[in-house]
Subunit: 237 residues, 2 copies
Amino acid sequence: METFKSEKEFLTSYNIHDFDLPLTTVDLCIFSLLDQSLKLLLVRRSDYPYKDCWALPGGFVDIKQDMNLEVTAIRKLEQKTGVKTPYVEQVETFGNQTRDPRGWSMTVLYFALLANSDAITDSGEEVCWVTLAEAKKIELAFDHQDLIHKAIDRLRSKVSYSTLPMHILPATFTLAELQKAYEIIMDRSVDKKAFRRRIDSAKLLVETGEMRQDGGRPAKLFKLKKSAETHFYNRSI
Amino acid sequence: METFKSEKEFLTSYNIHDFDLPLTTVDLCIFSLLDQSLKLLLVRRSDYPYKDCWALPGGFVDIKQDMNLEVTAIRKLEQKTGVKTPYVEQVETFGNQTRDPRGWSMTVLYFALLANSDAITDSGEEVCWVTLAEAKKIELAFDHQDLIHKAIDRLRSKVSYSTLPMHILPATFTLAELQKAYEIIMDRSVDKKAFRRRIDSAKLLVETGEMRQDGGRPAKLFKLKKSAETHFYNRSI
DNA sequence: CTAATAGTGTCTATTAGACATTATTTC
DNA sequence: GAAATAATGTCTAATAGACACTATTAG
């Protein structure tokens, strides 16, 4: 290797293309609660490889345009859904020789939570919302079945010890709706009293003053406190 | 964009260097318990950028040599420590415009746990083990201060609800030694009875039959059961 | 015997789960 | 009134934390 007298001199002669770099993409597992089910968004690929296959939304990091990885994720998400400020969380990075036929590639997987009110489907591209069971039966591009599995694992495990589902609901919601969100994601019922004690203890919600009625006694509407971060409990639900 | 008749045709004409790709590295936060403290391994950089600065061990993904990202991590770890089968876990991926003066770069951060018996220091390069407090005071290369912070956060939080510290001890150990490992990592004392109940409930340890003595009554030695995976508790310690 | 460390017994406070009860609405 | 949904009261079982106690070694 050459030697340089200073960092500046080194950088001047540094050429990024002297080395073989992995392809680098960001993929998203976008979740929403639709028709009382947890669903995720798939898009049909318009280009090779895996042309016409269903896949997770995502794409290359654009180093000209994106300040950082999360910006890439949010940009891709807005392209497909129109939503600008969803809840986004990095899950894991997958990189190996075989996952992309173009060569050694890595993808940074994020999951996003969208309120059903934001889960529109009128994009120009072919997109669709599918349940987890439906997704499993579809032949997806790349290793996207594995990515979905990891994203769901992360979502499920986190829901059991945090207030994460507050971010998959619209701006205001009832406690019954919040409980239902937990139940759909965890795929099991939870006790109402225990659930409310738990939510109460996090102190993240405030009453809006409004009520919502659904066939019986009207329920109080709640919203997240300003600057409410996800709360983590000491015990699983 | 051109159109292709088949995936094969597309791949033939695909040139990886047509696009600007981020630099991709793997960095490691290697933890060990030395002198009753949690320490991590730093290496002095021999090349630009940040020549002669202390940094986390790591380096470029070698797409000719490495089958996947974890192999890259384990290869780097073996280069610096000689240890071939440590506990390794992916933490998070950091990617942005500014973290590397050479350009848009991303690094996949792993942490590794080494038994103190494996924590040798006689590599050819300049390496050293430092406490967390010492690391904070050193001017590290790139954004490695941030990476260390994230790795410690992950380690600490995971220790509070799992059996992770079993992997930072030698093959056999006493329950007192295991408890001390928890205490050092979490930086607080834990109750002996509650701790032993908890470890017992995970059912991951078996007695070796041997004893170890340390000034008083001899203590039973334990080892991990074959194929023992980390256990996750429903409640934090 | 004392000192040191290993290991156990047991009480208490907390709290999740179960489930019954009351409250408020529409019809 | 009945039916539906919201909200609360209360008992019980599980268990983490506290801490006292017993056990086994060395000297």
